[in-house]
Homo-oligomer: 195 residues x 2
């Protein structure tokens, strides 16, 4: 039950975000959303056309938040390798998984172009942002080749997404950290000299 100080649409969106994160789209019912939001049936259908419409609003908000959190780590002032490490080590609710990435395993989300778009765009933006940082690092001598920026960026994002899988499977956040440690260990061989 979200704060009464939030508007009903906001409470509905926040409840949907939490449920999508925890149970996915298929596992989330309008009824569950209404109960979590403290809103009635009629109220929900007054503000949103239905479950897909509400899910879209929730997914967009979650995607935007993820982007902001990633940018906070990636947009810093340090060297390329330091910013990538900051991103990899940023605080996460590891056992809950990635609120955006988990949607890729949801058949109904993937079947809808509208619902799928924010997911695709977010992960794509992240890869591009990381690739740019790697490229920059190579140009500045903070990273030394041979290193393909696009490939490294994809590996970084994949390690994070897969780290969530390992953590949830084992029931321990440590598995995520171990995967990140392994990636940073491999990356260490490509650190350039500080000038």
């Amino acid at each position: 039950m979200y704060s009464v100080r939030m508007s009903t649409p906001d409470r509905l969106i926040e409840a949907t975000r939490a449920l999508l994160w925890e149970r996915g789209y298929v596992g989330t019912s309008p009824k569950a959303i209404q109960q979590a939001a403290g809103a009635g049936q009629g109220s929900m259908y007054h503000h949103f056309a239905g479950k897909p419409d509400l899910a879209l609003a929730a997914i967009r908000r979650t995607a935007e938040e993820l982007r902001a959190a990633a940018e906070a780590a990636l947009g810093g002032e340090g060297t390329a390798d330091a910013r990538i490490e900051a991103y990899l080590r940023r605080e996460r609710d590891v056992l809950r998984g990635c609120p955006v990435g988990r949607l890729t395993m949801d058949p109904d989300v993937m079947a809808s172009d509208e619902l799928r778009a924010p997911v695709d765009e977010t992960l794509d933006w992240l890869r591009g942002r990381l690739a740019g940082i790697v490229q920059e690092g190579l140009e500045r001598g903070e990273l030394t080749g041979p290193l393909d920026p696009e490939a490294l960026a994809a590996t970084v994002v994949a390690t994070v997404q897969g780290g969530y899988v390992l953590a949830r499977s084992s029931g321990s956040a440590a598995a995520f950290d171990t995967a990140v440690d392994g990636l940073l260990m491999l990356l260490a061989a490509h650190k350039g000299r500080v000038e």
Copy 2:
């Protein structure tokens, strides 16, 4: 509808495997299983106690198959790095995702110790198997340090699991391959000399 030459329990298990892979546990109903298996309601409940029981049989079979497929690539004769590369590049139904890993995003699977066990055990076995190969590679000089076998193994598994996420998100298997390319590129710096 599976081959009539399969026993009814087998057809039910195979149908469940396919549906779990595609739609997850939450998204799979007994009715859908029965239709895919060409079996009636009564038939299904005669052979299995219910949905969780049938899912357990399906998950166990899928886990065993995954293990066999991984071992086929990892148990070969080549150098450590060649076997890891063989594992990473083995043929996969990339856009369908990992039939075991996707279950970690299923709330009902994670909530059940019985259903979760085969998932955890499979990914854990895989990590251990890879770590052993890395260790062996270091001892034989096929790989050169500094390289923590456990961490590298976790990164390899995470890259694969995350590669599926990237591929499904973008709708293209190429995203998986790019993530794998990035990992192999990083690993290349640790290849020892062939004696």
